[in-house]
C-alpha cells in the first residue's frame, strides 16, 4: 500500500511553509500566543544564510547607505525576516493604539510637554540637578562624548572598579563608550540579550530598541559558539537565550559597578526612569555597590504626572506592548551604595539653536519610525553607518557630522509614515526634506545629484515644459525594452517593477473631459 505523505501544515503568514506553524516552546495563555515585550504576533523562522555586514565606514568620507543596503537585499533570508519582524512590531503598535481612545491626546500632550521642557531646558536642568543632589546623588556634567567617557572612567577609578555591567543606552553608543573603556582596561558587560549579542560580535546595535534584529538565529548561534561556547549546530532560540543567561549571571554577580541609561529624567523629583523588558537595568543598578546613570540633557521632563504620558506611549509605540516588563524609578542610592548621574550635552545644546531641526530633540527613542520605514525595513540599521539609523537617524546624524552623513537624508521615500507614527509628533519627513536642502546649501551633496535636482527644479517650475516632458516620458516608457529600464543606472528599476505608464496624462484627460478654460 502506498503511503501518502501529507504536506506540512502551512500558514501563509510564515516565511517558509515547511516550518511547523508553532514552535513547541511557544508561550500560550488560554490557547492564545502571547506577544508581549518584543514577541512577534506570528511564528517566523528563517533558513540559514551568511550575515550581510553593515556600511563600510571610511573616516569622514560620506557613508554609502545604498551600497550596504544592496548587500542586505542580496541576502533574502535576512531581508525577509527583518522586514516581517519590524512590520509585525508596527502592526502590534497599531493594535495598541486602537485600544486606547485617548491615543491622539497622549501624542499631543507628549509633544507639548517636550516642547515646553526644551524651551525652558536651563531651568529644568538646574531643578533636576538640585533634586538629585538633595536625594544624595552625585551629579556630573559632560560637554561632549570624550568628557562623558573620562568622567565615567574617573568615577570607576575612584572606586577601584575594573568590571562594569550595563544596560542598553544609545547615549553610550553615541559616545563610543565601549571602545574607550576597552582602551583603559575596564571590562564592559552588556546585559541586554540583543546588545550582548552585538557586543560579542563586535558590531554596533542596528536598532534603538531591538539591537540584533538584523541577525538570524543561525547568526546568533555562530556568535555564541565562538564566544560563550555553545553548540554551533544548535540554533534553538530557547537554548541560545538560556546559554546567555547562564554565562552572564556570574559576571553580573562579580561586577564592581553598574551602569544604566535613562528614558526620562523628572526634574521635580530627580527621578531617573529606565524601561527594560529583561530587568537587566535593575540588576545592573541593584547588584553592584555603584550605579552610574548616563543621561542626555534632552531626556528631562518637568513632573511625575508627565511621566505617565510618556510611559503609556513608549512601549506601545516601540513594540506594541502596553508597557515594558520593568519600568524602574531611581531617585537615590540604596543603603550602603552610591549613585552617580552624568548629564551629557554632546551636540544637543547646538541642535537647540537650529530652528528647522530643534524639535528632533523631542525623540524618546522608541524606534516606531524605523519599524514603519520601507527603506529601513529592507536595508537594515547597520547600512546607515551611524549610531542612529532609520528616519530619526536621517535627521539627527547630520547634526554630528554633515559631511559623513550627507547622503543619509536621501535614503527616504518621504512617504510621511514616520511622522504619522511618531509618539511625540516630530515632523520627521519634513525635516528629512529640509536636511536635503540644507546639505545642498552647505555643498555636501555630490555634483551629479545637485545637477539632476537643479534640472528637475527647472522642469517643475515651468508647467508647460513639465507637461511636454511627462507626456514624452510616458510614451517612451511604454515602448522601451526591459533592459533599458532595468539597468544599473536607474535606481528606481532595482527590485521593483516600474508602473505601467498611463495612456494619457491627467492634464490632457482633464482638458478633453472637463475641457474649456485652461
Amino acid at each position: 500500500m502506498n503511503t501518502v505523505t501529507k504536506p506540512p501544515r502551512t500558514d501563509e503568514r510564515q516565511l517558509h511553509p515547511e516550518h511547523p506553524t508553532e514552535d513547541p516552546h511557544t508561550i500560550l495563555h488560554n490557547g492564545r500566543r502571547l506577544d508581549h515585550a518584543e514577541g512577534s504576533s506570528r511564528p517566523l523562522k528563517s533558513r540559514p544564510e551568511p550575515q550581510p555586514r553593515g556600511a563600510k565606514v571610511h573616516g569622514n568620507r560620506p557613508v554609502d547607505q545604498a551600497e550596504a543596503a544592496a548587500r542586505f537585499i542580496a541576502s533574502p533570508e535576512h531581508e525577509k525576516m527583518h522586514d516581517a519582524r519590524l512590520w509585525d512590531l508596527r502592526q502590534k503598535r497599531d493594535r495598541e493604539m486602537h485600544a486606547i481612545p485617548e491615543w491622539e491626546d497622549l501624542r499631543s500632550l507628549a509633544s507639548a510637554i517636550k516642547e515646553h521642557t526644551l524651551t525652558h531646558l536651563d531651568h529644568y536642568l538646574e531643578q533636576f540637578e538640585a533634586s538629585a543632589q538633595a536625594n544624595g546623588v552625585h551629579v556630573h556634567w559632560a560637554a561632549d562624548a570624550a568628557e562623558h567617557n573620562r568622567t565615567v572612567h574617573g568615577i570607576l577609578k575612584d572606586h577601584g572598579a575594573r568590571t562594569l555591567i550595563k544596560s542598553k543606552s544609545m547615549l553610550t553608543e553615541e559616545c563610543g563608550f565601549r571602545p574607550y573603556m576597552a582602551s583603559v582596561g575596564i571590562e564592559v558587560i552588556e546585559t541586554d540579550l540583543g546588545e550582548r549579542i552585538q557586543e560579542l560580535d563586535n558590531e554596533d546595535p542596528s536598532h534603538v530598541v531591538v539591537p540584533a534584529v538584523h541577525k538570524l538565529r543561525t547568526d546568533v548561534a555562530k556568535v555564541f559558539s565562538e564566544t560563550i561556547g555553545t553548540d554551533p549546530d544548535n540554533s534553538d532560540v530557547h537554548y541560545l537565550a538560556e546559554a546567555q543567561r547562564t554565562a552572564t549571571r556570574p559576571l553580573i554577580l562579580a561586577a564592581d559597578a553598574g551602569m544604566t541609561g535613562c528614558n526620562f529624567a523628572v526634574a521635580e523629583t530627580g527621578t531617573v526612569a529606565v524601561c527594560t523588558n529583561e530587568g537587566n537595568a535593575d540588576l545592573s543598578a541593584n547588584v553592584p555597590k555603584l550605579h552610574i546613570a548616563s543621561i542626555g540633557i534632552e531626556k528631562l521632563i518637568p513632573r511625575l504626572e508627565h511621566l505617565a504620558v510618556f510611559v503609556r506611549l513608549l512601549s506601545r509605540s516601540a513594540l506594541g506592548s502596553p508597557l515594558t516588563q520593568y519600568t524602574s524609578h531611581f531617585r537615590g542610592p540604596r543603603k550602603g551604595a552610591e549613585m552617580h548621574i552624568v548629564l551629557v550635552d554632546n551636540g544637543r545644546s547646538q541642535r537647540l539653536a537650529m530652528h528647522q531641526f530643534w524639535t528632533s530633540l523631542k525623540c524618546i527613542r522608541c524606534g516606531a519610525c524605523m519599524n514603519t520605514c520601507p527603506v529601513y525595513r529592507r536595508s537594515g540599521g547597520l547600512s546607515y553607518g551611524a549610531t542612529y539609523s532609520g528616519p530619526i537617524g536621517l535627521i539627527i546624524d547630520p547634526t554630528y557630522n554633515a559631511r559623513k552623513f550627507s547622503a543619509l537624508p536621501f535614503s527616504s521615500t518621504l512617504n510621511g509614515s514616520c511622522t504619522n507614527v511618531c509618539p511625540v509628533k516630530i515632523n520627521i519627513h519634513e525635516q528629512i526634506y529640509a536636511w536635503r536642502r540644507e546639505l545642498v546649501r552647505q555643498h555636501e551633496v555630490p555634483f551629479i545629484k545637485t545637477a539632476l535636482m537643479k534640472a528637475a527644479g527647472e522642469l517643475l517650475s515651468h508647467p508647460a515644459a513639465y507637461r511636454a516632458a511627462i507626456g514624452a516620458a510616458n510614451a517612451v516608457l511604454a515602448h522601451l525594452p526591459r533592459f533599458v529600464i532595468y539597468n544599473g543606472l536607474n535606481a528606481w528599476g532595482k527590485h521593483r517593477e516600474v508602473p505601467t505608464p498611463p495612456k494619457q496624462t491627467f492634464h490632457s484627460w482633464y482638458r478633453s473631459n472637463r475641457g474649456g478654460a485652461s
Binding site: H116, W141, D192, E305
Partner: protein, 203 residues
C-alpha cells in the same frame, strides 16, 4: 568655565524663542472597568504574568504552597509566609543568587497594565526581585489603581529611592521575535490576591 556652566550657558543662548506653555494632564479615567481586579488580572496575563486564583472561603496560602513544592531556597519578605532564607541575614545582594522563590507584597497595582509596584520598602534588598528564579507577589485587591495617571500620583514615587513597576516576568524576544521568559531576571511572576492583615483587622 566648568562644563556645567558651559552647557547651561549654551542652552540659554540657544533656547528656541517660542511660547510653549506646559499642558495639564487629565487623568483619563472616565471609563472605569466593572472590576479593577478583573481588569488587572487580564492585563497581567497578557504580559505573561500568572494570577493565582483563590477559591472562595479558602486559605490563599494554599495556592502558593503548590507552587513552592520542590523549591530549595525560599526567601519570604512577608509575614504571611515562612521561607528558609531570612532577608535580615542578607549582607550583600550576591547572597541571594541561589534563591528559587522570593515572596513579596506589592505596594499597589495598576489595572490598565497589570503592573505591581515594588520598592525598597517591600524588597528589603532590591536585588531579590531580579536574582530569584521566580517571584510571588501578594496584592491586596484594595490596592489597585485604574491607570498609570493615577499610579504616578502615589507617594511612593516621591518618598522611595527605588520603585519599580513589574509587569509580568523578565522577558526577551531579541532573537527572531521568539518570546522567552526569564531573560536575565525572574522566569515567572505570580500575583496572589491576599488582603493586608492590617486592613483586615481594621474591619
Amino acid at each position: 568655565m566648568s562644563s556645567r556652566e558651559q552647557i547651561l550657558q549654551r542652552v540659554r543662548s540657544n533656547l528656541p524663542r517660542v511660547e510653549r506653555p506646559l499642558p495639564a494632564v487629565p487623568p483619563f479615567d472616565e471609563t472605569r472597568p466593572a472590576s479593577l481586579l478583573t481588569k488587572f488580572k487580564e492585563s497581567l496575563e497578557r504580559m505573561g504574568g500568572l494570577f493565582l486564583e483563590v477559591p472562595p472561603v479558602s486559605d490563599p496560602r494554599l495556592a502558593v504552597h503548590t507552587q513552592l513544592a520542590g523549591a530549595k531556597v525560599v526567601c519570604s519578605i512577608v509575614p504571611e509566609f515562612t521561607g528558609n532564607r531570612r532577608i535580615e541575614d542578607v549582607r550583600i545582594p550576591q547572597d541571594l543568587a541561589d534563591v528559587d522563590f522570593a515572596i513579596v507584597r506589592a505596594s499597589f497595582a495598576v489595572a490598565e497594565t497589570g503592573s505591581v509596584l515594588l520598592s525598597e520598602a517591600e524588597l528589603g534588598t532590591n536585588a531579590v526581585a531580579y536574582l530569584a528564579q521566580h517571584l510571588i507577589v501578594l496584592l491586596d485587591p484594595d490596592d489597585i489603581v485604574i491607570n498609570l495617571h493615577h499610579a504616578y500620583r502615589r507617594s511612593e514615587f516621591r518618598e522611595r529611592h527605588y520603585a519599580s513597576l513589574h509587569t509580568g516576568p523578565s522577558a526577551t524576544a531579541d532573537i527572531e521575535g521568539v518570546l522567552i521568559h526569564g531573560a536575565q531576571g525572574v522566569r515567572s511572576l505570580s500575583v496572589l490576591p491576599f488582603p493586608r492583615a492590617i486592613a483586615r483587622s481594621a474591619i
